[in-house]
Structures are given as C-alpha cells and as structure tokens.
C-alpha cells in the first residue's frame, strides 16, 4: 500500500494527465480581456485551449465538469522575472546557471540553454498559481545579462516557450560598476556594443574586431540592436530613465522595457508617451541604493494611472530561483497602495505576456488563448488564498511538490517520530 501510494505520488509529480475537454462552471471569471470579470461565468477547455468563455456554456459530450461555485477563475500568473529553473539551490556552492562569471561570453549567454523544467521549484511555483515565467541570468561580468527565455511551469520537456526572448542590459548603478565604476562610461559602452552588433559580421571578418564585444556577443546582440528584440533595461533612478527615454527618441527602432524603475513615478508621463513598459516591485520603498532614493509604495499605482504599461516582479537584485510564487503577494501590495485590482492582477499575468511578445496566446481567458487557468479558494491577490486547481495548456496539474511531501511526512497528526 505504501509502495503503491509512493508510486502514485511519483507519477503525479512526473506525468500529468493528457489534455481533456473540461467545462469550468459558475466561476468569477477574470478574463483579463474586453469582457472583464464575468460573474457566474463558464470556461470551456478543448485541446489545451480556451474554446469558449461566457455564461451558460453547454457541456460538450464527454466533457469533465468542474464546478467553480463562484470561486475566482483566472489566467495563470506570469512571473515577469525569475531565475526559476536555473538552479536547484542558488547558494551553498551548488551549481547555479543564473550566475555567470566569464569574460568570454555575456550578451550571448542564453537562459534557454540552461533552463531545467524538472527543478523542484517548478512544482512549488505552479501549485501556487504561477504558470509562466520570464527567466534570465542575474549576474554577468559586463553590462549585458544575456538572452532571456520564456518558460512554462508544466515541468514537461517542452516547457521552454521561447528562447532569445529579450536581452538584459544594465544601465544603472550595477551597469556602471561593470564598466569601471562610472555611468560616464556606461552609455558610450552600450552604444559601442550596438555598433559592434550592427556591423557584425563584417568588422569581425575583416580582422578589425569589435570595439567592446567579442564576436560571439556581437552575433547574439545583433537582432536586438536592429530592433528585432526587446532590451530589458535594469534602471531605477529618474535620471537614468530620462536618459533612456532620450535614447529611444534618437533610436526609435529599438525596443525597450524597464525592469526596476523605482523612481519611474517621477517620469510617468514621459514613460507613457515613450511607450516604454515598466516592471516594478511594489515593495520597493526604501532608499536602499542611491538610484532608489525616491522609491515609494504607490509607484505601480501612479504609473498605471498615468497610462504606463506596468508589470510586477521583484526588483533587480532580489530576483531569485525559488519565490516566483510571491508575485501575487506583490500585486496584492500594489492594490493595498492604490492600484486597481484589475490592473494589479493583469500586471502579474496579461501584461508580462504582452511585454514579452506572447500576449496573443497567454494571459487572457478568451477564445483560442492557451488554457492556463487557475481556480482559487479566494481572492488570488490575498496572501491567504491558494489554488484549488491549476491547468496548464488544458492539463490539470497535480498540487504536489517536494514541500507538500515534507509537509505530509512531518504533519503533527502523524506524530514526530515514526
């Protein structure tokens, strides 16, 4: 009996059931789309996609019915920045693919080549309602953090959605430290890197070489330098943000989003006009760095009100491999500090998908969207809530993780020593 249950658990951890036709009935359906939130709404899942959303949807023959009974039914959350899958343990001298210490490769570093969908954090994360994440290395030796990837929390071999999804670039204090300690060198270094990339491969084949980039990094940077990919820029201060806005004005073909932006509220109108999205941390309210002296709790609310596209994630420097699940708590704190609930929920679901270019398939409960759906036992932005069911691509996920197994092994009802 024990062996059997162990096998069942192992099976549950390893291989979810195949996609099926499911009708979720009578939920408080947060569509993240034009239909807004539908009270008493139904969601029909067919072949891993949302087939219909609305009231009183008829159940196709053979469909499994899940009664939501008024519970929240939402798209899965999207962690707008994480290192999940890049290490099992991040410290302790354990292997950590998020931490790159190399002079030879930086912009070319590719998170998609390091992602492991079988780390235990994936199951820990998805059972709290997070179904997708953008991942990137946290640290390199240059201003380029490398190429980020978009991943699903299914744990399946195919859970890499997209590699080469964005290019991390440090243009604030951290970046300055990587070019000798001064912003005075930062932007010239960035511009030189863009030139190297644009002139790849000619200047490398001619023997001239790059001004600042290796051939490998220049090749990787080229599509981004040509406006074919998104630069995710780590900056915090209003002064740095203004510099970025000016740079974009002069280089309109390039695409930028900001991660950090603690002082973005001071330049909210300019950001809205420049159409630069910002990924902020709603808990960032301390002058803990000189580039964050005016950090405040209502940053997300102020930006949203000004018409800036706002997503929510931990600030640069606090992104980790294990707590992507806390993005919903971050969004709840944005609500506590004045952000509209719908905007805050979108900021950890639809908006990251849009920023990273997968907004037509992820982040909404609308027809033909991928069926990444969570049924919650309460308001998903409340820390006291948790999922009752999680679907990824229409497949219901086991709510089991290494943590729940430890929990069950040491549950007080079973006594301490067995």
């Amino acid at each position: 009996m024990r062996v059997l249950s162990a096998l069942l658990i192992a099976a549950a951890l390893a291989a979810p059931a195949a996609a099926e036709t499911v009708l979720i009935r009578d939920g408080r359906v947060v569509t993240n789309g034009a239909a807004g939130t539908i009270e008493g709404g139904d969601v029909l899942i067919v072949d891993g996609r949302v087939s219909a959303v609305g009231a009183d949807i008829a159940a196709p023959r053979g469909a499994r019915i899940v009664e939501a009974n008024g519970r929240y039914v939402t798209p899965g959350a999207f962690a707008a920045m994480s290192e999940i899958g890049l290490s099992e343990i991040s410290g302790s001298g354990a292997p950590n693919d998020a931490d790159l210490d190399s002079d030879d490769i930086s912009a070319a570093a590719d998170a998609s080549r390091a992602f492991n969908p079988q780390v235990t954090a994936v199951a820990v994360t998805r059972m709290e309602g997070v179904t997708h994440a953008a991942i990137a290395p946290s640290s390199t030796d240059t201003i380029f953090g490398g190429r980020g990837a978009l991943v699903s929390m299914s744990g399946e071999p195919d859970s890499l959605l997209r590699g080469n999804a964005f290019m991390v670039v440090e243009l604030g204090e951290t970046g300055a430290n990587r070019v000798g300690g001064s912003r005075a060198a930062l932007w010239p270094a960035f511009e030189a890197a863009l030139r190297d990339a644009r002139e790849y491969p000619n200047r490398y084949r001619s023997g001239q070489g790059g001004a600042v980039l290796s051939e490998l990094d220049a090749a990787a940077l080229q599509p981004f330098a040509r406006g074919q990919g998104l630069f995710l820029v780590h900056i915090e201060s209003a002064a740095d943000i203004r510099r970025l806005i000016r740079f974009k004005r002069d280089n309109p073909a390039l695409r930028f989003a900001i991660h950090g932006g603690a002082e973005a509220w001071q330049v909210a109108d300019d950001l809205a006009r420049a159409q630069i999205p910002v990924i902020v941390d709603p808990l960032s309210n301390l002058p803990d760095r000189f580039e964050r002296l005016s950090a405040r709790l209502d940053n997300a609310a102020l930006l949203d009100r000004a018409g800036v596209t706002v997503a929510i994630a931990p600030a640069p420097g606090t992104v980790d491999a294990h707590q992507a699940r806390l993005v919903l708590q971050l969004a709840g704190n944005a609500v506590a500090n004045g952000m509209e609930w719908d905007a805050a929920f979108a900021a950890v679901s639809r908006t990251p998908a849009e920023i990273f270019g997968v907004g037509t398939t992820l982040g909404r409960l609308e027809r033909n969207y991928q069926a990444d759906i969570v049924i919650w036992d309460g308001d998903p932005l409340q820390v006291t809530s948790a999922p009752d069911a999680v679907f990824i691509e229409g497949v219901e996920q086991p709510l089991v993780s290494r943590q729940t197994l430890l929990r069950d092994r040491y549950h007080p009802s079973r006594g301490q020593r067995q």
């Binding site: 099992e88 343990i89 991040s90 410290g91 302790s92 001298g93 354990a94 235990t120 954090a121 820990v124 209003a238 002082e263 001071q266 808990l283 309210n285 301390l286 002058p287 803990d288 760095r289 000189f290 002296l293 005016s294 980790d320 491999a321 294990h322 707590q323 806390l326 708590q329 709840g332 704190n333 609500v335 506590a336 932005l381 409340q382 820390v383 006291t384 809530s385 948790a386 943590q403 729940t404 430890l406 929990r407 040491y410 549950h411 007080p412 009802s413 301490q416 020593r417």
Partner: protein, 460 residues
Amino acid sequence: MRSRLHPVIALAAGLALTACATAPETDDEAADERMPFASTYAPRPSSPTLIRGATVLDGAGAELANADVLMRDGRIVAVGANLSADGATVVDGSGRFVTPGIIDAHSHLGAYPSPGIQATSDGNEATQPNTAEVWVEHSVWPQDPGFQRAVAGGITTLHVLPGSANLFGGRGVTLRPVFGARTVQEMKFPDAPQSMKMACGENPARVYGGRNSSPATGMGNVAGYRQAFANAERYARRLRNAEEGNGDPPDRDLEMETLAGVLNGDILLQWHCYRADEMANAIEISHEFDFEIAAFHHAVEAYKITDLLVEEDICAAIWADWWGFKIEAYDGIRENIPFVHAGGGCAIVHSDSEVGIQRLNQEAAKALADGRRAGLEITRGEAWTWLSRNPARALRIDDEVGTLEAGRRADVVIWSADPLSSYAVAEQVYMDGALVYDRDQINDRPSDFELGQAYREGMQ
C-alpha cells in the same frame, strides 16, 4: 524549564567591572552606577485614548468582537466591552482591527541601513569567528529610514542582531523605532536584556573556510562553540571566586564577559540555525555547558523537531516561506510556523529583512492560511501570538509588551481591516500610548538622511 546551576553573578549586560578591585559596593552604590550605553528612551507624551468598538486580537491568543481598548499614562488600562471614556480621546474602531504592536525578533535595521553601501555595511565583524565582544548597538545608525518604514507596518519593538558570519557574532539589542532619536540609547528598550548572536551552519564555515582558517566545516563550528564556552566557564568561575573573596578577578575580557553573561543567564542566546540536526547539536552544547537558548532563528527545519523545542522551551523565529536559497534552507515548508505552533511550541514570525519587517502581518497570514489548509485549527487570535507575545517571550520583555493585558505598555496598532490579509494597512500606531504613526496625518517621517532630497514634498 531547566534550572540554572550557576548562581547569578553581578555581570549584568555591560556592567563595568573595572572598579571591582576596590572596596565592595553597597547595593545602592551599584544602583547609582549608570551602566555604559544604558537606555535613555523616554516615552512620547500621550493623552488617555479609548479605541471603541473594534475587533481585538489581544496578542495572548484571544479575539474579542466589538471591544474597547483604553490606554492611559502610556499603559493599557483595560480591554473589554463598553469601557468608560472618562475624559479619554475616543477613536472609532468600528470595522477596524486592533492588535498589540508587532515585535520583530530578528532585524538588522540600523546595522545594515539604507542606503546599503560599503561604508554602511556594519552588521558582521567578520574578522574572526568569535567576536562575542562586539555589540551591534554600536553599529546601529538611528537615521536609518527603515525604522520609520517599519513603524508604518505596525512595528513597535525590534531586536537588532549582528549578522551570521561568525560563530559568535556579538551582542544584540532590543530597540524602539523612535522617530527623531539622535542616539541609539534613545531607542533602547528600557531594561531589556541584551542577547548574544550565534550562528550554525554554512555561513561561518563558508566565511572562514574560504580563508583557509577554522571553522571550515560543521565539526569545526561545534568545536569552536565548545572551546569558547569552556574558556568562558573558567572566566566565570574566576569572577565568582573573586566575588567570594577567593583571589583576584580576571583581567577584563569583553569577549568573555559576553559568553559568561550567557552562562549566567543575563544575556539571552539567539542562535541562527537552519537544520534540525544542527539545532539538536546546539541543544547538546547547551546541556554540556548549562545555558539556555532563548530562540533558534530561521529554524527552517523546526517542524522536524518541535518535540525537542517544546521540551527545551526554545522558541523558533521563522520566515513564513523562504526556502532553497541555500542547501540548509532546502527543506523549508510553508507549514513550519503552524506546525511548531500545533506541537505546542513557541512560534515566532520574524523578518531578517528591511522589506519583510514592514509587513510581518502578511507573513503570519500566510502561515495561518497554510496551517489551516493542512487541517490545523488555528484562530486569528492565536496567529497574532506569533507576532507579539512569542517574540516578547524570546526577548524576555513579555512582562512589558506583547499583549494588551492591563499594565502592559500601550503599544497598539489600529488596522484598516483584518491584518491577517494583504490589503489591510496600519492606520494608527501607538507606542507607550502615544500616537507615533497616523496614515492620514503623520505618515511621512523622513530621517535626517532623507531631508532635502529632490523628491521630497516641498522640494520639487
């Protein structure tokens, strides 16, 4: 509780011993002698206040509906129904929740202040594995903006500890987050005992092993603890003998004074320890040298040894859900706090973070919800003991703060809604009966550091 074998000797925290070579002092003279670095904290002026008709979580485990809280002369007078205002300012508590102020048993505010730069990184004297001689209060910068951010999150008392690089990190201090304090003495909680910080596990072994010195391993850690306590026993014995007229006292040794203070119970032991087996080793050492451990901090695996913790009467100060950042944190589970609680243990929600300290109520809320989902019956009132009574107990200030019992210091928070949630905010915070934070009136309390910076109101 285990009894102490050592008689209490006159080695109160920081008591100067240099004068002892002369004639013995009388008790009065001893009382007159001001201890170095003694608290100069003074409660802010307050007027009597009655909070009427709130839901009260009293910190002792109870929840009272539609209850009044009366404060006078800085103390709690009564909690109950239909209290007479008797001239007190009446605050409408309807629809609101009232709790004791939150006590964070593990903070580094002031020692790792904002802004965090090389010069302000003041929490680890990581120069040798035993720095029991240092006092973190001598690193605390009262202008750290984090103190007032913490008050806005309902914090009225915090215990600041040295970091965990060393086996013996030094002495910790219990503080009030006083706005406008010019000195750390103005923040020191009156008569609160100091603590000593010790650290198990990876950190000391990494820091010193990385320098090819001891400790480099878990066994090196334990040898380091034991040898230091063995030395401290000898020092304490010589002190005691000298007091009894047998021989001269030893030369003053600040490191030994701290360790001897732990042995005689004047200094509380706060021990950073993640793993169950390492906590068990620590308990063995406490038996060998006969001292008490007030609390294990972080205690990621406390849930595996709740029985041991209960038997030894040791609190566990825990994060709600941190895990995985080190191998010693790999077995973290969300039910750690509720499991310790359910086993009859003294569970504490701590922050160890300048961000987390601003919303410890949310951390308790997570632990409560996760415990309930695991089938445990835990009330909101019980959950609040993790935030006030239990940390007060681990800091040995539970006769002064931590609950709303009559006579306790009037540290009171009025919350906009159930504080065991995401959206509730502290509307008012009272410290010793004085209103020190009001979300509508006095929520912007810049430290000296923040004054005049370009973004501040009126400066743009």
